[in-house]
Symmetry: none
Subunit: 205 residues, 4 copies
DNA sequence: TTTTAACCGAGACGGTACGTCTCGTCTTCTT
DNA sequence: AAGAAGACGAGACGTACCGTCTCGGTTAAAA
């Protein structure tokens, strides 16, 4: 066998400059032409890079975009947890309002939507997408709810993970389907409604 | 308008036979190769039809698939409304279980997911998708909830449309992201949790 | 056999108006876009005629053009023979000059060239082209030469048909290949040279 | 210039193997199906080559065929000049007989006729056709005649270029129009007749 | 210090599908 | 029955990208 094509490239010799240019170009382009018309050739051209340099390090244009977007998000992230002022409702409302604002920003929306869409179609990418972007956020909510549960603000019988789905599902669905605008009124109302489901029942069952 | 190309074809002379063959072929193919590898050429070939006959009547492969799937769904539909036995929880659980089963069926899942994905990326298609497939179902839920509200089973302060989002959002999100299996346990739990949010509060605020 | 497609159409019911419109449109179009880009569809559209009306009466676009051009030529033709003033050289020079002028006219050149080209590629059309357009002209020359031969101005050993080829071959070749301009100097020189070949030899062989 | 598409490809990296396969395939195919039914797709398929590889290097199927045929002819050519035994008539007869035989060979005839026809319709191609195939041959004749003129076998007043037209025009016209067979009798007769036009006149004018 | 091995920019290559164009046939309705 | 209109199956057009594969050219570690 003369050549084993997928010969692992040597990471230590990787050109950081090329990598950055590629990631930047892909985010720019997805904003300009949209995901379906985003092509590897265009990314390479815009980045001033050979196509092979992309194929060497990423398996698909979705993977490029995922990494580009992950970098972008991590670079402007505080990392901590959700605020815990003791007032669960206020905390959730604040965070969900902020999230809604973020999802309304065009620069964020285009690549994130592209990744969400691609993930829905490609389970392998979905895995990466979940691990790198969706899960971290989801876990913060789950932990905050668990804290509230320990504080007796949430019925001990409720599964916090399901509760997070109850909160984020409607939000994401509305965003993805453009069923309606992500106003603060919406997010506030959503929080209120969800909390009604989570509060401990006053008396006996 | 720069191009005169889309000169309206004469609908009355449209070949019903070709139309059927195209719709059937597209559903078959999307099940076999998946949406991204579904091509107009393959549909035409499978249907025994010229490509132009597809381009004449549909603007995109997504539109073909939407029509194909709409036809399919309508042909096997009862049309009535959601059951109303008076027991809201039982009714919702039954319907959501049935929906979960439907979404677990491979023949249904492939084209529906393809359409959902394409819709998320293409607002124009999304409009059609919503009108033809999503809204009709959503409205049935909304009506059932309104009936329950009139019967005093749901807090009059709750917006039934938001309530539907609360019920279907987590369901669809879990399905689209493959976050977990659509078991009956999941749907039952979801219904229970949602109803806790909807029930009238026993005493004062 | 359910249907014999080439069912002879009934000539007596043919629409003279459509025929004229088709012929006129084809000559116009060949002048505008050239023969290779001349399409049946365009002819039909320009003539305000169904495509089938063309296919019913002509086997190919070349045939349409041939008929169109034949009509055109015959309508403006005197029909007589070549002039015979007794001065063979003067007569031939005059006729060849006139022919050169005709071939330099754009309105004549485009369709005639188109037909000549198509004929070279399609023997069946070539037959029609020869019978209807080339032969009549050629025969006039042959007769004039035969008259001159009878008058002793041409060597009796020379085959008049070959002589015509000697005269017209260089002319047509130059025109077809655009090897050079069809000036009067050229045609005069050609006539003189050819006549040198045809004159009876003064003395013994 | 509206389009930047024809960005010059890098000739040094051109695949000689593909080029050969394309040229071979085009000659084969033009012999099998004729020029009008020769398609770029078929050439690409037969050559085992992507269509783009053809479009990258040639502007049209005619250009492909011209290069193919040029290669073919040059590969089996001696290149020298016309024979000069001192006997002009014998030399010309021999060469014209050989040419007639060549033009009667099916393998030669199909592509050459295709090119001649395409040239008559397309001046740009005609230029290439003339430079690469027609002119070289024509020049050999012109030189031979000039030699004969210097030797006093041809009237010094005769233009050798016109004389070549007189010789080759009838030949090519007969071949192109299929007016008659290219027999040795024909070519011999043609040579004799032409020489009568070229011989110096014995006495005064 | 020289060699050597990888990455890199560049882009030609064999392919697939695109959306358009025209072909010649067919069907429907009008005259 | 001919004709205007145009939908249809077919298939080539020329373009855009795909992912793979050479090409020199530049680095950086190994010899």
């Amino acid at each position: 066998m003369p050549s084993a094509t997928p010969k692992n490239p040597d990471v230590s010799r990787r050109s950081a400059h090329s990598r950055t240019a590629i990631l930047r170009a892909s985010v720019e382009l997805v904003g300009e032409v949209g995901y379906p018309r985003l092509t590897i050739e265009a990314i390479a051209a815009r980045a001033g890079v050979g196509k092979q340099t992309i194929y060497r390090w990423w398996p698909s244009k979705a993977a490029v975009l995922l990494e580009a977007f992950t970098d972008l998000v991590h670079s402007e992230e505080h990392g901590s947890g959700l605020p815990d002022t003791g007032d669960l409702e206020a905390d959730l409302k604040a965070v969900l309002r902020a999230t809604a604002d973020e999802f309304s920003d065009a620069g964020f929306e285009a690549p994130y939507r592209a990744l969400a869409v691609a993930s829905a179609a490609d389970p392998e990418l979905a895995e990466q997408f979940a691990v790198r972007l969706r899960e971290p956020g989801r876990k913060l909510y789950a932990e905050r709810l668990r804290a509230a549960q320990r504080a007796g603000q949430i019925d001990p019988a409720v599964d916090p993970d399901l509760a997070v789905e109850l909160l984020l599902g409607p939000f994401q669905q509305r965003w993805l389907n453009r069923t309606g605008p992500l106003t603060h009124a919406f997010t506030d109302g959503l929080v209120e409604l969800v909390l009604r489901a989570l509060t401990p029942r006053s008396a006996a069952d």
